[in-house]
Structure formats: structure tokens, C-alpha cells
């Protein structure tokens, strides 16, 4: 399959994402410049972590207007896969491709740690290779990772099983002590109504080798690989194309 990693001015983790997909997974991967308007035929677009455009005003607020984002929006609308990691998640929320927003950590401190997240559903292209309830150990590093949404939105996310990852303790329990940033309902990652857009605060691209932080991130990348290997259909029908986040 072919991956694309968008590079914004201020992106930090684009190299790791390219390395994970190209060298570790052995796939084709291309860097997509923020001023490009063409996704060059990629199956899955990664919006990497970092501080796009300095994260001035709000995280992701400027990036959502970059030329490449029009192509990303169109890709997402037609069921294409979009994988937003950390700053990428913030950009997807700002762009309206995912509901809610990411605000300053409740502690007001930047957190840099390894956390446990529980896969809440295997019914997404990003988690189809995981078991629901499976625990992953992934690094986080962010100052604005506190997921918020109004009650109605959160209830809809719960009932539609669109909360894909949640912070838990090592026993898989959703407890406040396991929540690194104050996110509502311990949300670490959510997907779109069509399930083809995922945003998450943890960094799977930093967890692809045993020597440096473990391999749990590969569980997500390999899921996408299998999904695309099956012609992008997986076990469920092609992602429903829906308007709105």
C-alpha cells in the first residue's frame, strides 16, 4: 500500500511516520508538502505530530487552511483513510473532520510519558487487527491533549462506538489516575462517523521497534495494511460516506 505523510512547517514526527511505514512496514511512503494540492494516489494520509505553523492561535487552527487540507478533506469524504496523530488529531478536530476539540491539559503541564490505552473497538480500519479490549503501550508527548466535546456529542460517540482508544491503567481499567491530560471519558482517540478518519493523541509511530519504546504502535499500522490489502473493505462494508464529522 501507499502512505502519505503531510509535512507542515513545524511538523516534528513526519520522519518517524515515514520511517515506520517505509522501513518497518516495507510499504511505499511519500512526504506530502503542505502547499501541495495532490495526495499522489496514497491510500492513507498521516497528519503527523508537531506544532504546525507554530500552533499559533490554537493548535491546528492555521493548518486546517493549508492547500493540502482541501485534498485531505476530499479524500476523507470519499472514504479514504486519514490517520491524525497528536497535532494531526488537533488539526482534524479544527478542520471539522472529527468532532470535539483538544484543549490545554488539565494539569497545565506538558506530559511526556508512556501510557496504556485500551482498544475499544476493532471495527475501524485502524484497529481491525486488534481485539476489542486489547491494551497497547504507547508514548504521549503533548501540552494540549485534553479531549472535550459537548454532552450530546460524547453520548453519540459512545453509542456509535466511535471512541476507539481510551487511557486505562495497566489492568485495563478506565480510572482517573490513568488519564494523563484530563480528557473527557479518558478519550485517547476517536473516529469519524464513516470510521475512515482516526485521531489519537498517543504516538504509534514512535512505538515500532523493540529497542526504542516497544512495538505496540505496529498493531495500528498493520491493521491499516490489512485493511488496504483486502481492497479497503475489511470485514465490514466500505466506510459509509457521510457529511460532517
Amino acid at each position: 500500500m501507499r502512505w502519505g505523510v503531510v509535512v507542515f512547517p513545524g511538523s516534528l514526527d513526519d520522519r518517524d511516520a515515514l520511517r515506520a511505514t517505509e522501513r518497518i512496514l516495507g510499504d511505499e511512503a511519500v512526504a506530502l508538502w503542505h502547499k501541495d494540492r495532490d495526495l499522489r494516489g496514497v491510500d492513507c494520509v498521516i497528519l503527523p505530530g508537531g506544532f504546525s505553523y507554530g500552533d499559533y492561535l490554537r493548535c491546528g487552527a492555521m493548518a486546517k487552511f493549508s492547500p493540502i487540507m482541501e485534498a485531505v478533506q476530499a479524500h476523507a469524504r470519499t472514504g479514504g483513510l486519514v490517520f491524525g496523530i497528536c497535532n494531526g488529531f488537533q488539526i482534524l478536530c479544527e478542520a471539522g473532520l472529527l468532532p470535539g476539540a483538544l484543549v490545554r491539559n488539565r494539569s497545565l503541564s506538558f506530559v511526556c510519558d508512556t501510557v496504556t490505552v485500551r482498544v475499544e473497538t476493532s471495527d475501524t480500519p485502524f484497529t481491525m487487527g486488534c481485539r476489542a479490549g486489547e491494551l497497547l503501550s504507547l508514548p504521549i508527548k503533548h501540552g494540549e491533549g485534553c479531549y472535550v466535546a459537548d454532552e450530546e456529542t460524547l453520548a453519540a460517540l459512545e453509542s456509535e462506538r466511535r471512541i476507539v482508544l481510551r487511557y486505562t491503567d495497566r489492568g485495563g481499567r478506565v480510572v482517573p489516575e490513568a488519564n494523563p491530560n484530563g480528557a473527557l471519558a479518558n478519550v485517547a482517540g476517536v473516529c469519524s462517523a464513516g470510521r475512515n478518519v482516526l485521531g489519537l493523541m498517543p504516538h504509534p509511530e514512535h512505538a515500532v521497534e523493540r529497542l526504542t519504546g516497544g512495538e505496540d504502535g505496529l498493531r495500528l499500522f498493520r491493521s491499516v495494511q490489512s485493511w488496504c490489502g483486502r481492497g479497503g473493505t475489511g470485514e465490514r462494508s466500505t466506510p459509509t460516506v457521510v457529511s460532517g464529522p
Partner: protein, 86 residues
């Protein structure tokens, strides 16, 4: 130069957690300002405008807020229009 100056106030929506406001409130209490019951921290943005008047200017600035300056999911905004700086 003339023109208009838009003063834009962006504040966290009621009900949205404002950890900065809470931290500032705590510090004010520590400093002895016990009468403080709530603090919310937002942003103040000045936008200098030219070649646009009154109602049209207000409509344009509101569009700026909706599209970029504020995030409607978490923030409210308020706009005041006045004489521009020379």
C-alpha cells in the same frame, strides 16, 4: 490612516474546563484575594480594518471569528468596533 479597529474577545465557553482560569484563581486566593469566585482566561485580538464601514465591517469580523479566530466548539467571541488607530 483611520479605518476601524475591531476588538475581539475570545473566551472559553461556559461548561468547558478552563484549567488556566482555575490556576489563576488559585493563585489569586493564595495572594489573599479571597473575594475571587471565578476566573476565566481568554484571548484579546485587535484587528485593524480599512475600506469597510459599520455593519459590513461587523459582519466581516464575525466571519473571521467563525472561520479562524475562535473555535465554536470550545470558545465564544464578542466583537467591539471602534475608530482605528492613526
Amino acid at each position: 490612516m483611520g479605518g476601524l479597529l475591531a476588538r475581539v474577545y475570545v473566551t472559553p465557553k461556559r461548561g468547558i474546563l478552563d484549567p488556566q482560569g482555575k490556576a489563576v484563581q488559585h493563585s489569586l486566593h493564595v495572594l489573599g484575594f479571597g473575594e475571587v469566585t471565578d476566573v476565566r482566561v481568554g484571548k484579546y485580538i485587535e484587528v485593524q480594518l480599512r475600506d469597510v464601514a459599520g455593519d459590513a465591517a461587523m459582519a466581516r469580523v464575525r466571519q473571521m471569528c467563525e472561520r479562524l479566530l475562535a473555535n465554536g466548539v470550545i470558545e465564544d467571541f464578542r466583537v467591539e468596533l471602534g475608530e482605528g488607530r492613526s
